[in-house]
C-alpha cells in the first residue's frame, strides 16, 4: 500500500514537473500565430500583439488579421490622444496635419481593413493597412526631424505593416 502511494505520488510529481516545463498545450494554434508572424516584418511585435488579445489562440489567419486591426485602432488612439495633448501646449501646422492623417486612419483605413478581413477581400485590408503605415510615416516626416510623436508614429507604422503582411498571406 505504502509503495503504491509513494509510486503514485512520485508519478504525480514527475507529471507536474514534466508538464510545467513543456510549452503550452495548445500547440496547433500557437504554431499558427508563429508561422503567420514569421511572414511579417516584425515577428516579436506580431506575436506579442496577437497574444495580448484573447481569442488569438483559436483564430484562423483572417481572425489574426482582425485582431491586428484592433491593435491598429489602439495605436491610432494613442497617437490621437498625444496629438490632442500637444495641440494644447504646442500647436503647429505639422501637428494639425498629423491630426488629419490619423483621422484618415480611423475613419478610412481601419474600417476598410476591418470590413475587408471580415468579408473576405484581403487586398483591401492590405491597402488600408499600407495607407495607415504611410499616414504615420508622413505625419512623422512633417516635423523635419524634431517630432514629438516618434514613438506613436513608429508604433502605428509597425503594427500596420504587420497587418498588411497578414492580409498578403490571404491573397
Amino acid at each position: 500500500m505504502t509503495n503504491l502511494k509513494t509510486t503514485t505520488t512520485l508519478f504525480f510529481f514527475l507529471f507536474l514537473i514534466v508538464m510545467t516545463s513543456l510549452p503550452s498545450i495548445t500547440l496547433c494554434d500557437e504554431k499558427l500565430i508563429e508561422s503567420t508572424c514569421r511572414q511579417t516584418p516584425n515577428f516579436n511585435l506580431c506575436v506579442q500583439s496577437l497574444k495580448s488579445f484573447p481569442g488569438s489562440a483559436t483564430a484562423d489567419v483572417r481572425g489574426l488579421g482582425l485582431i491586428m486591426v484592433k491593435v491598429m485602432q489602439s495605436k491610432a488612439n494613442d497617437a490621437i490622444n498625444k496629438i490632442r495633448e500637444l495641440q494644447r501646449s504646442a500647436p503647429s501646422p505639422a501637428l494639425t496635419s498629423c491630426a488629419s492623417k490619423y483621422n484618415a486612419i480611423v475613419v478610412g483605413d481601419i474600417p476598410e481593413a476591418n470590413e475587408a478581413f471580415s468579408k473576405g477581400m484581403p487586398k483591401f485590408a492590405e491597402n488600408g493597412a499600407n495607407d495607415a503605415a504611410n499616414e504615420a510615416t508622413f505625419c512623422e516626416n512633417g516635423f523635419n526631424g524634431r517630432s514629438p510623436l516618434t514613438q506613436q508614429n513608429n508604433a502605428m507604422r509597425d503594427v500596420a505593416a504587420i497587418t498588411a503582411a497578414i492580409a498578403r498571406q490571404l491573397l
Binding site: 483621422n103 484618415a104 478610412g108 475587408a116 468579408k119 483591401f124 508622413f138
Partner: protein, 508 residues
Amino acid sequence: MHYNGYYHLFYQYNPKGSVWGNIVWAHSVSKDLINWKALEPAIYPSKPFDKFGCWSGSATIIPGKGPVILYTGIVDANKTQVQCYAVPEDLSDPFLTKWIKPDEYNPIVVAGPGVNRTDFRDPTTAWFEDGHWKILVGSRRKHRGIAYLYRSRDFKKWIRAKHPIHTAAGTGMWECPDFYPVSMKGTMGLDTSVVGNHVKHVLKNSLDETRFEYYTLGTYFTNIDRYIPDNTSVDGWGGLRYDYGNFYASKSFFDPTMNRRILWGWANESDTKEDDIHKGWAGIQAIPRTLWLDPGGRQLIQWPIEELNSLRDKEVEMSNLKLVKGDYVEVKGITAAQADVEVTFSFSSLNEAEAFDLSWVNAEDLCGKKGSNIQGGVGPFGILTLASKNLEEFTPVFFRIFKASNKHVVLLCSDARSSSLKSELYKPSFAGFVDVDLSTTKKLSLRSLIDHSVVESFGAGGKTNILSRVYPELAVADQAHLFVFNNGTVPIVVENLRSWSMKSAVIN
C-alpha cells in the same frame, strides 16, 4: 450594357466613404458613353443571399426577355460567396432604375463539393451555345487560378461543367474573368455568343495577388467546352495586359448599336486616404475603349471610343518639327490639364539605338532605370504632360528604342516619379514593351488623354496602353503645360501633332 436606347454602367461603390466597404451596385446611364446621369443604386444587400455584400458580376441581354444581372452575393459571416441574379422591376422604364431579385432560383449557383466557397465570384456575361446558356465564375485552388463553367437551358437552373473552362498554375485567384470572341479580321466587335472559324477567343483575368490583369488569345473548343490559349500567349504575369498601368477589374461588353466591343476599367487613387477624404471622392473609370484583334493575331488593340472626339474643342497642330537631343518644345494654346494629344514621331536611323540586355524582362523596372532624363540613342522621346513651367513637375510619356541581336525592342514609359513635388504619393514608373516591326516603319505614334489627375496613353495605335494617376502641385489647371521632347542622340521629327482642349463631360 446597352438596352433600349441607353448605355448602363454599374460599378462597385461605397456610399458611406472613400474606401472600399458597404459595397453596392451604383448605376449611371448615358446616351453617348460620354455624358452620364447617376441614378439610385441598382443592387444593394436586401436578401438572405446577399445580406453581407453585393459584389461584382455581369449583365446579359436575353433576346426577347431583356437584361439579367448576375452578381456575387456574400451570404454569411464566413465569407461564403454565391452567385445571384437580378432583373429590372419595370422594363418600360428606359433608365431601368429599379431592380428586383426574385426568390425563385436565387442564388442560382453555389460552390459545390471541391469548390472553394470563399473564393468563388464574378460571374461573366453569358453566351448561348449548343442549346445552353454558359457562364464562368472565377475561383482558385491554392495557387491555381480557375474559371468554372456553368450551363443552363433556362437561365434558372445551372449545372457545373465537369471541367473548368481553363485553369493556370501559380497565378492565384482569378477575379473578374471575361471571356469573349474577337473577329480575326477587322475592327468590328462580336456578340458574346458568336463562335466559329472566323473568331478567336479572349480570356482575361484580374489577378488578386498583383493587382493587375492579363489576357490570353486562344481557341474555344465548343464540343468539349474548353479554352486553350495559343502557344504564343502567356498565361499569367508574363502575359499581355490590357494596360500596363493602373487598370483593374475591367469588363467588356458588346455594343450592338455600333457592332463594337467596349472595355471598361477601374483606376483607383495613388494619393493618400487623407487626400481622398478631403476631396470627397476616390476611384475613376478609364475612358471606354473599343477592342479588336491586331491584324498580326498576337494581341488586342484598344482605342478610345470615337464619341470622345465630341469633347474636342480648340485645336493646335504642329508638323515637321525637328527635335535634337535636349529639345523640349511647348504645345501652346490648349488647356494642357484637360487635353487630347495625338502625335506621330519619326526617326531616320536605328543604328544608334542603345543595346538591349536580355535580362531586362520587367518593363516597369527598366523604365525606372532609364527615365526620360537618362539620355539614349534613339529616344527617350515623347511628351511631357502635366508639366510645370520650369519642369519642376512633369509626367513624361515616351518611347525608348533598344537594339537586340536580331530585332529592336521598343519601350513605352509613363513615369510618375517626377509628376509631383508632393512626396506622399505612389509614383510608379509604369511601362510596357511595344510589339512593332521597325524594319518596315521608322515611325511611332502616341495618343494621351490628360485629365488633371489621370494620363491615359495609347502607344502605337493602341498596342501598348498605360493609365497613370498623378497629382501635381504646380502643374494644375492653367499652370499645366504640355511639351514634346527628345533626349536621345538621334534627332526625332514630330511629323504631326494634333492636340485639343477638351470640354468637360457631364459625369457623376
